[in-house]
């Protein structure tokens, strides 16, 4: 089947087998190897991307289902050379060690913050329940997400607001 998926702002038209998973399409055809595969049962969340602004495990979506959609991966988060506040917060709070779960963890965190701009610790823990990390024990990830929430809150600065409103509009496209 021929599909067109806009990945990190670039429209990509490809012929894919109907069985191809979105994550394999992204990695093998589009070249977005920043998004990784950690399991084969949709438990680990390492492959999490945004599909039309909503976080999905890209191993649980067929490439053909993404036809006509916008996909944002970890590689498309930084704008004009500026890291997303969640990326910055992961760095500042030492929220990663080996970094394999990090792309999915960051994508899920952004989605979580779009739903709940000021989550408490328990809300962050529950919001990230579908993303596994073996290195950090999660403590610094939780800290990073809450730190990012503070950086992105209204009045935190023009750059953060621009990115925060970006996120809000993308998530708003869900139509929920």
């Amino acid at each position: 089947m021929r599909i067109t998926v806009t990945v990190d702002g670039i429209p990509c038209t490809d012929d894919v087998e109907p069985r191809t998973l979105l994550v394999h399409h992204l990695r093998e055809r589009v070249g977005k190897v920043g998004t990784v595969v950690g399991c084969d049962t949709s438990n680990c969340g390492a492959c999490t991307v945004h599909l039309d602004g909503h976080s999905v495990k890209s191993c649980s979506v067929l490439a053909v289902q993404a036809d006509g959609c916008e996909v944002t991966t970890i590689e498309g988060l930084a704008r004009d050379g500026e890291l997303h506040p969640v990326q910055k917060a992961f760095h500042e709070n030492h929220a990663l060690q080996c970094g394999f779960c990090t792309p999915g963890m960051i994508m899920q965190s952004i989605d979580l913050l779009a739903d709940d701009p000021d989550p408490d610790e328990q809300a962050v823990r529950e919001g990230l329940e579908g993303n596994l990390c073996r290195c950090t024990g999660y403590q610094n990830i939780v800290r990073a997400v809450r730190d990012a929430a503070h950086r992105m809150r209204p009045g935190a600065g023009p750059e953060a607001e621009r990115l925060a409103s970006d996120t809000a509009s993308r998530v708003g496209a869900r139509g929920e």
Binding site: T41, E75, E121, E126, E129, G137, V142
Partner: protein, 812 residues
């Protein structure tokens, strides 16, 4: 002119590694694509023990996109290749040949029997289904005691036994203590317990992968490995390749925890296939393959006897272990439980000690190193026993530990196991931990809840642990019959512009070496942190090393870096003296500047670097290079320690355990980067707590791993774990110039017994003195109901801990 005034060591520097990892600019092995690259898929046995009657690959060979299909007989017609085991722990150790692919019999479910090579990974996997293997099932050997029973079927018929080796240490024989049998005969209290260390899966997040390119003059292997240097040498030795024709690269590696210390049949398979076809090939496993084919950890039965006087003074410890090797021996598998031999006596002054370990073969995935490797098992055993002894004697569990531990003023202290602990301050770590924990307050609350019959009971668990880190003094490894040494190598290259390249033989996979090594070198040479690049993980650029495991990188590899930096300065000094026309004796070096004492005259290391590069004006006989390398072979291990305190709430109506608070004060010596240290402790705690509460690799009666996916094997999520309170005391190691001890395994080693002790403490008044790990709600509830240990099968089903599974709404 730049110079660093404030020391870098001790700063919580944000990591250099992060930039590529948070932006997705990573080079995981599976990300690599080479021109003409083919893909491998491995067919694995569904049976734990069976004869292979026939393998028919005809149909698979003609499947779309398939280039070739190989069986074990195709790749190794003489059955001459065996995967290496580097640790023959006894001269008579039984060592079965582990083939690259099974040809005659399969010995565990998941063992490879054929490999398909195709244009795409999907086509290779499709073709697996077209391979027809006829098996003739054999009796399956499972369970340590079953395997050793009279008349038990054998995993390897030709060995004549399921016993791999018996390894013994006795303090009376070794001259390090007295006789345990005497202690047992004469002591006022003799307490015996049996504990089980369940089997665990290391579960690094990045599945294993390798790419082999045979097209250049050197064969190049990229692998998701902890041990590129060992892999290079072992690939050469295993396949008979000239070592100088092999280059191994560990690119970005997504976690290891010991699970990537192995040399893999798949790596050897990929090499042979690549050579046969003259094409680059890639093998990447699925998570389901990892679970059955990558080595597991732990899996012991521990029979422990502790003896003491009525006043609580311990008089002896006898340790009898059975350790499951699985179906074959891993690279260091047989030695893993032996590392525990030196740790069961822990921080206590036992006068008599006996350790015997029987390694056993079963028809299961092989076991090998997993975070802590032998030391978590030992620490669990002794810390559980100290609690049991305290109960037996009616003492507070902290009081009995204090009574028996090595006091600060007694260091250095030679233990009953023959190790000399150089330093430690158990009093300081314990005092700090008790204060942070509110030990007395929680004990009061526990009493109140018990008296009021609260359905939620509170328990307090203690673990005052130590570990041996910095593996390892080569002489000690030699005395334990390990095949290699334990040194590490480093090189420092001073570039013409004064920038620095640091080459290290330690191969990082999440530990933050690039950051920490930069901090060390910045202090030593007085160059900015940003001007230092750390290079590792490629045997071409980092040609010498022993890699990363056993909390060794900083304690051994970091010291090699320090020594190499000292050599750079020694080479720079005569040049500085020459340039400033003074005597070397008049020079002092500080913050990157050589200055002439008592004058304003100075020259920087960067200026000297350029002078060396131009080489126009060097002293006679001085080479135009500041580059220096060195190796470090430690004289002794390092001994981090700490006090971990856990408060657990147990809902006695459901058996559910909630960790109310977890406090640990670790003493890892000098912290080069406190932020990284804290992160290592957090992650270690999570893994140790997961052993206590969540994780277990379970085989059914046919030898099938029933916890073979992340849906069944309960890796804790953020929602399953509490926040930890971590702190440090800092008693520098006296055996290395940085005063460091290592931190990679501390959290994992210490936390498991703290959690289990807490849960038992909460329900002991129901008559419970043990619950098998993992402490699932069903096991805890059952123990409360029956007033005894819930040893045995109950609750051993997959996912028994509930954990991430939300029964009301499902997994998000």
């Amino acid at each position: 002119m730049t110079s660093t005034i404030e020391p870098e060591v001790g700063k919580s520097r944000r990591r250099k590694e992060d930039e590529r990892l948070i932006t997705g600019r990573t080079r995981w092995t599976d990300n690599l694509t080479l021109p003409g690259m083919l893909h491998l898929a491995v067919l694995r046995s569904p049976f734990a023990h069976a004869e292979i009657v026939s393998i028919d690959v005809t149909e698979a060979k003609s499947a779309p996109g398939v280039v070739a299909v190989f069986t074990g007989k195709d790749l190794d017609p003489e059955s001459a290749i065996g995967m290496p085991c580097a640790w023959p722990i006894t001269p008579d150790m039984k060592s079965p040949r582990r083939p690259i692919l099974a040809s005659d019999t399969v010995n565990f479910a998941g063992e490879g029997v054929a490999v398909v090579v195709a244009r795409t990974s999907a086509e290779a996997h499709d073709a697996l289904e077209a391979i027809d293997v006829e098996y003739d099932e054999l009796p399956v050997v499972l369970g340590l005691e079953n395997a050793l029973a009279e008349g038990a079927p054998l995993v390897h018929e030709d060995l004549g036994t399921n016993q791999n080796a018996v390894w013994v240490f006795d303090s009376a024989d070794a001259g390090t203590g007295s006789s345990v049998e005497d202690a047992i005969s004469h002591s006022e209290v003799v307490l015996k317990r049996r504990f089980r260390q369940q089997r665990l899966v290391p579960a690094f997040m990045e599945p294993r992968a390798c790419v082999v390119d045979p097209t250049g003059s050197q064969l190049v292997m990229w692998s998701a490995t902890q041990v590129p240097h060992i892999l290079k040498t072992m690939t050469a030795a295993t396949l008979g390749l000239p070592e100088h024709k092999v280059r191994v690269i560990a690119p970005d590696v997504g976690g290891g925890f010991g699970g990537k210390i192995a040399v893999l049949p798949e790596e050897m398979m990929a090499t042979l296939v690549a050579q046969r076809l003259g094409k680059p090939v890639k093998w990447t496993e699925s998570r389901s393959e990892t679970m059955v084919a990558a080595h597991h950890g732990r899996d012991q039965i521990q029979d422990l006897t502790i003896t003491a006087d009525r006043d609580g003074t311990v008089t002896g410890l006898k340790v009898e272990l059975l350790a499951d090797m699985g179906a074959y021996l891993g690279l260091v598998g047989p030695g893993v439980p032996i590392l525990g031999a030196f740790m069961f006596n822990a921080i206590y002054k036992f006068p008599a000690y006996h350790f015997v370990c029987t390694n056993v073969f079963t028809n299961t995935t092989l076991t090998d190193a997993y975070r802590g490797a032998g030391r978590p098992e030992a620490t669990f055993g002794i810390e559980r026993m100290m609690d049991e002894l305290a109960v037996e004697l009616g003492m507070d569990p902290m009081e009995i530990r204090e009574k028996n531990w090595i006091r600060h003023e007694e260091f250095p202290f030679t233990t009953v196991a023959g190790l000399t602990y150089d330093s430690g301050d158990y009093e300081a770590a314990t005092a700090k931990a008790k204060e942070l924990f509110d030990y007395d307050g929680l004990r009061r609350e526990q009493k109140e809840r018990r008296e009021s019959g609260d359905p939620v009971q509170l328990g307090i668990g203690i673990s005052t642990f130590t570990e041996m880190c910095g593996l390892a003094p080569s002489r000690v490894l030699g005395s334990l019959d390990y095949a290699a040494g334990g040194w590490e190598h480093a090189e420092i290259r001073v570039l013409p512009t004064g920038k620095i390249e640091v080459i290290t033989g330690a191969s990082a996979h999440g530990q933050g070496h690039e950051t920490a090594w930069s901090q060390i070198v910045a202090d030593k040479l007085g160059v900015p942190f940003e001007d230092i690049e750390v290079i590792h993980g490629d045997t071409q650029s980092s040609h010498k090393g022993m890699d990363t495991y056993g909390s060794r990188s900083l304690v051994v590899g970091g010291i090699a870096v320090v020594k190499a930096a000292d050599k750079v300065l020694a080479k720079a000094k005569p040049i500085a003296a020459h340039l400033m026309e003074c005597s070397e004796d008049d020079l002092e070096f500080s913050a990157g500047e050589f200055s002439v004492k008592g004058t304003e005259v100075s020259t920087s290391i960067q200026d000297i670097a350029w002078a060396v590069f131009s080489a126009h004006n060097l002293p006679d006989g001085v080479e135009p290079s500041l580059d220096s390398s060195d190796t470090f072979d430690p004289e002794n291990f390092s001994f981090p320690h700490g006090t971990h305190l856990c408060a657990a709430e147990v809902d006695t109506e459901t058996g559910r355990v909630r960790l109310r608070s977890y406090v640990c004060v670790d003493d890892v010596g000098v912290a080069v980067n406190p932020l990284i240290v804290e992160g290592q402790v957090h992650g270690g705690l999570a893994q140790g707590i997961a052993q206590a509460l969540f994780e277990e690799a379970v085989h059914d009666e046919g030898g099938t791993l029933t916890t073979g996916t992340f849906a069944d094997y309960l890796l804790p999520s953020a929602a399953d774990l509490p926040s930890f309170t971590t702190d440090r005391t800092e008693t520098p190691s006296t055996t290395n110039p940085l005063g460091v001890k290592g931190v990679g395994e501390a959290g994992t080693i210490a936390s498991t017994p703290a959690v289990v002790n807490a849960v038992i403490d909460a329900v002991r008044h129901f008559g419970v003195d043990d619950i098998e790990m993992p402490l699932t709600p069903m096991r805890v509830w059952h123990a409360i109901q029956h007033g005894s240990a819930a040893a045995g099968g109950l609750g051993s089903e997959a996912g028994g801990g509930l954990g991430s599974i939300d029964a009301t709404g499902g997994v998000q």
